[in-house]
Structures are given as structure tokens and as C-alpha cells.
């Protein structure tokens, strides 16, 4: 996500269009790209989802294993979220340990899922203090055309919602679907100069001054937010972005359910 430079020409073009409420790909300013989700793509995973958000393409796999709980939450399962920005997906991604961009991305996706209490973590306890289910969300970014925050989040939610816990194979009871109780939806907007638009494509994201990701639940309540980039927002802009996130969240939520 350390972006290549966008030409001044492109920048001017995108901004001029946006000033009249238009975008290069024909969308309205508050219109997200098409989301398509394919579930159970990977049979070696306990759950998986392939998400395309426009041309951004991510594959998420869920692996479940049995481990120890954290000492401070002895009755709860454990959640671990990683994002790999593999160099396949973009000429700007490099192999190696995760950089700040990838770490922020993984942590924001994780917070949306964790703070919305999407999965009832207490039902992932096997033996208090000793054995709980550990849930790994591994996000593989395959093709990068902007707005990974939302694409990765949709992948994580959809994959979890399709996950079957392999309890039998591990000798700890019968298999069961992950106990999903809430449906967080992440919606990201960016600001280019004074214009705010939702679900930025790569070109739009490259020239954005500020970014705000808002995760809402099925009640429209806010579960997580993250502002990024070096620009700023006014309070009014933030309120409008939240309202957009609530509306777009309602549209996308049904797609994430199995």
C-alpha cells in the first residue's frame, strides 16, 4: 500500500470528475464497487472465502486449532488475524515480514471482528483455563486494486461465517459451525482535497489525503473506526462518513451471510 506516484494529470482528472460528483469508473461518490463472494474455496481450511471488491481480490482461510487461553480470559477462545501482502498482488508489495501498512490493516480487520463480538468467543472454550479453540484468520491478498480494509474485512467475516469447527477430528466433541452472533461491515471512505468518496479504487486511494474506516453492526452501531493517511477530517465529514457506512453496511451485510 506504499503507493506508486500518481501522475499530476490523473490527479487533476479524478478531482475534476469528483467535483461534479462523478468517478472514473462511473460510480457515484457514495457508491461502493460490486462485491462478489465465493465460499469454501479452499478445502484444506475450516472455512474460506474469496472476495472480489471490484478488481481487488482477496482469499481468506480460517484454520482452527486447540490451544491455551490467555490467562486474563480463561473461558474464551483466541483470535489471531494476519494479512500477507504478497508481491503477487502488486508491484509495490514486497516479500518479507509485515510492514506497518500490513500490520495496521490486519489490526483494523481484527478489531472490527473482535469488537463487534461477531463470534461468541466463550463458546470456543473447551476446558476453562486449559484448552480453547484458537481461530486463525489468514488473509491472502491476490490482486490489489484499492481499499483492502473493506475487502479483507468482508473476506474475514464471510469465511468465519462458513467455518465448521473440526471438533471430532481433534477428539473434543462433535463438529459445529462457529457461533456467529453479529455481522460487522467495514466501510472505508477517503477524502481527496475537499471531496469524500466511498470504497476508493486504487487510483483514488493513491491520491487520497485522508482515509476513514467505519465498522458498523446490524443495528447500525459503531464497533470500530480507524482514520489513516496524513490529511484531516472535519467533524461534519466524519459524521457523514459514518452515515454512509451505516447505509452501505446495510446493503453489503446480506452478501456476507452464508
Amino acid at each position: 500500500m506504499s503507493e506508486e506516484i500518481v501522475s499530476e494529470l490523473m490527479r487533476a482528472h479524478v478531482y475534476r470528475l469528483a467535483s461534479t460528483g462523478q468517478r472514473v469508473d462511473g460510480r457515484a461518490l457514495d457508491e461502493p464497487r460490486k462485491v462478489t463472494i465465493e465460499r469454501s474455496f479452499v478445502s484444506t481450511a475450516e472455512g474460506s472465502a474469496r472476495v472480489k471488491l471490484g478488481n481487488t481480490d482477496v482469499l481468506v482461510g480460517i484454520k482452527m486449532s486447540v490451544g491455551e487461553p490467555y490467562p486474563d480470559t480463561p473461558n474464551s477462545g483466541v483470535l489471531s488475524t494476519s494479512v500477507e501482502l504478497i508481491p503477487m498482488a502488486s508491484p509495490t508489495f514486497e516479500a518479507g515480514p509485515p510492514r506497518p501498512d500490513a500490520i495496521e490493516l490486519a489490526r483494523v480487520v481484527d478489531r472490527g471482528i473482535r469488537e463487534s463480538k461477531m463470534v461468541n468467543m466463550d463458546r470456543l472454550c473447551i476446558t476453562p483455563k486449559e484448552k480453547v479453540w484458537v481461530m486463525f484468520i489468514d488473509i491472502h491478498v491476490l490482486d490489489y486494486d484499492g481499499n483492502l480494509f473493506d475487502a479483507c474485512s468482508y473476506g474475514g467475516v464471510a469465511a468465519l461465517a462458513s467455518t465448521k469447527v473440526p471438533a471430532k477430528a481433534m477428539g473434543v466433541g462433535e463438529d459445529f459451525a462457529l457461533p456467529v452472533e453479529h455481522w460487522p461491515v467495514s466501510v472505508t471512505s477517503v477524502k481527496i482535497k475537499d471531496i469524500v468518496l466511498v470504497d476508493p479504487s486504487l487510483d483514488e486511494q493513491r491520491m487520497a489525503d485522508a482515509r476513514l474506516t467505519v465498522t458498523t453492526d446490524e443495528n447500525g452501531d459503531i464497533r470500530a473506526m480507524q482514520k489513516g493517511l496524513s490529511g484531516s477530517f472535519t467533524y461534519e465529514e466524519i459524521k457523514r462518513i459514518i452515515e454512509t457506512a451505516q447505509r452501505v453496511g446495510r446493503e453489503i451485510r446480506p452478501l456476507l451471510k452464508p
Binding site: Y70, D72, T73, P74, N75, P100, D101, I103, E104, A106, R107, R111, R114, E115, S116, D209, L212, D217, N219, G220, D221, I222, R223, A224, M225, Q226, K227, G228, L229, S230, G231, S232, F233, T234, Y235, I238, K239, I242, E243, Q246
Partner: protein, 279 residues
């Protein structure tokens, strides 16, 4: 947001009269003390006590960015490193950056990027170091607010100081400036930072559960608190330089270096353990 510690127990965080465990009202800040110019080697520095938080901020630069391939020919890089001392939390933290520190460093760097007049110093970096010596929730807000003073102390030209304060929700009540217990057992935490003169929001994060109305209440509390922080930041600079922030900002860019010490340093109140040369 402070995910270092979680202890699972039921804690009653607010009494019948709406007072919090430490006696504060919902819109009340913890005691805060800030001091500018506390380190010798750094170009600028500040020390802040904020409730049980003790943070130190230092600034070097603008100086030549290195390695060279990171230099931006158009502007200075504004880079922050937020770090927790191993002994700053109950369970010792291993030295070195963890994922949480990396994220916080990133959002703080971004918060300052639009405030510093970076275009005046191409190919350089402005390096901000925040050390959390003792943590009690809200370290990123304390660190950011201290760093702001350190930037001014270093004479880095800026549009304004940045002031930061979190709000959150405990037992259904929106409150400002959560302490560690409130953060651990509360329902939401929402750190933010503003440019006080313009009201621009340069940092915003949130986790937990807030309705839209609660969020607005939280923001209002944080914005009010940030303005109080701003006063404290300005006081610290005034004590240090015997000039007002307005004097400093109106002359910038560039900010003249502090007068070498022709002005006598202000007396330090007796309960204050550190003079202007200590932290």
C-alpha cells in the same frame, strides 16, 4: 485500545451519583502536568504526567533523512516511534516494537504530517520519539500531546500544536479520558487528536460499541478535553520560553531557536521534582 492488559472480573466502575472510581465526573480529566525542554541531546523534548501515565517525547530534526532512498525530494518525512519501556506495564513487555506499537507509531506519524510545514525541509526527516515510562491507559494521547510540545520546543515550524484526548463508554455512560480499569472493563474507547485552531481531526480510532449518538457525545467530550490539553501545552511552552504560543506560531515559519537562556527560567513549584533540565 490499550490492549496490554485484560483482567476478567466484574468491576463496578461508576457509583450511583455518576462518579467514577477515582472520583471524577464523566467529563473530568485526570491530573495532567507537562513540561517542555527536559532533555539535553534532543532538539526538543517534553515530559508529561497524565493520571498514572508518564511519557517522554523527544524530537530530532529536521535532519538529513537516512537511509537516503527514503528521502522525499519534496518534503520532510515526519516519523514517529512510539515505544513502551519494558517496566511500564504490569507484565514486563519484551523490548522492541510489537504490532500495537507499530500501528500507534503509524497513526501518530500521520497525525503530525499535515501540521508540520514539511515542504520547507525537503530530503529531511523530523523524528519524533515517544517513550512510555509508566502506562495507565491513554498513552497514545499523552504521547501525542507531549510530542506536540517537543516539536515546538525543537523549533519545528507547525501550523498549530496537536492536542489529543480519548473518550469512551463505561457502564453505558460516555466519559472522557478512561483510566486503565475503565479501559479494561469499559464498553468502548475512542482516542482522537485535533488541531485546536481549526478543529480538524488528525487522529481517530475507536473500538467497542457506540451508538451514533454516543459517538457524537464522545467526540464532543474529547474535543472539549483537547482544548484543555491545548492550554496546558501552551502553558508549558510559556513557562519554558516566557513567550506565548501565539508569539511562536505567528513568527513561524521558521520558528526562531529558543533564546539561549538570557531569560531566567521560571521557578519550579516545590512539588515538582524536575527542573527544566530534568524530566
Amino acid at each position: 485500545m490499550e490492549d496490554i492488559e485484560h483482567i476478567e472480573k466484574k468491576v463496578k466502575l461508576m457509583d450511583a451519583s455518576g462518579r467514577r472510581l477515582d472520583g471524577r465526573k464523566s467529563d473530568e480529566l485526570r491530573p495532567i502536568r507537562v513540561e517542555a525542554g527536559v532533555l539535553r541531546r534532543a532538539d526538543g523534548s517534553a515530559y508529561m504526567e497524565w493520571g498514572g501515565n508518564r511519557v517522554l517525547a523527544a524530537v530530532y530534526g529536521p535532519r538529513e533523512a537516512h537511509p537516503r532512498h527514503l528521502q522525499d525530494p519534496a518534503r520532510a518525512l515526519v516519523q514517529c516511534r512510539y515505544n513502551m519501556a519494558p517496566f511500564s506495564v504490569s507484565d514486563r513487555k519484551r523490548p522492541g516494537p510489537d504490532r500495537r506499537s507499530v500501528e500507534i507509531s503509524k497513526v501518530i506519524s500521520e497525525a503530525f504530517s499535515s501540521v508540520v510545514f514539511a515542504e520547507q525541509f525537503p530530503r529531511t526527516s523530523v523524528d519524533i520519539f515517544i517513550e512510555v515510562l509508566q502506562a495507565d491507559a491513554g498513552t497514545r494521547c499523552a504521547g501525542l500531546s507531549a510530542a506536540s510540545v517537543a516539536l515546538a520546543d525543537a523549533g519545528v515550524p507547525m501550523r498549530d500544536l496537536v492536542a489529543s484526548c480519548a473518550s469512551g463508554k463505561i457502564e453505558g455512560v460516555v466519559c472522557v479520558d478512561l483510566n486503565k480499569d475503565e479501559d479494561n472493563f469499559g464498553d468502548a474507547d475512542c482516542p482522537m487528536a485535533i488541531v485546536p485552531r481549526t478543529g480538524e481531526i488528525v487522529l481517530l480510532q475507536m473500538d467497542g460499541h457506540l451508538t451514533y449518538d454516543e459517538f457524537q457525545k464522545a467526540m464532543d467530550l474529547s474535543i472539549g478535553a483537547a482544548h484543555r490539553i491545548y492550554e496546558l501545552q501552551r502553558d508549558a511552552l510559556r513557562r519554558r520560553y516566557s513567550v506565548t504560543l501565539e508569539d511562536i506560531l505567528k513568527e513561524s515559519p521558521p520558528l526562531p531557536p529558543p533564546p539561549p537562556s538570557e531569560e531566567p527560567l521560571p521557578p519550579i513549584p516545590p512539588e515538582d521534582d524536575f527542573g527544566p533540565e530534568g524530566i
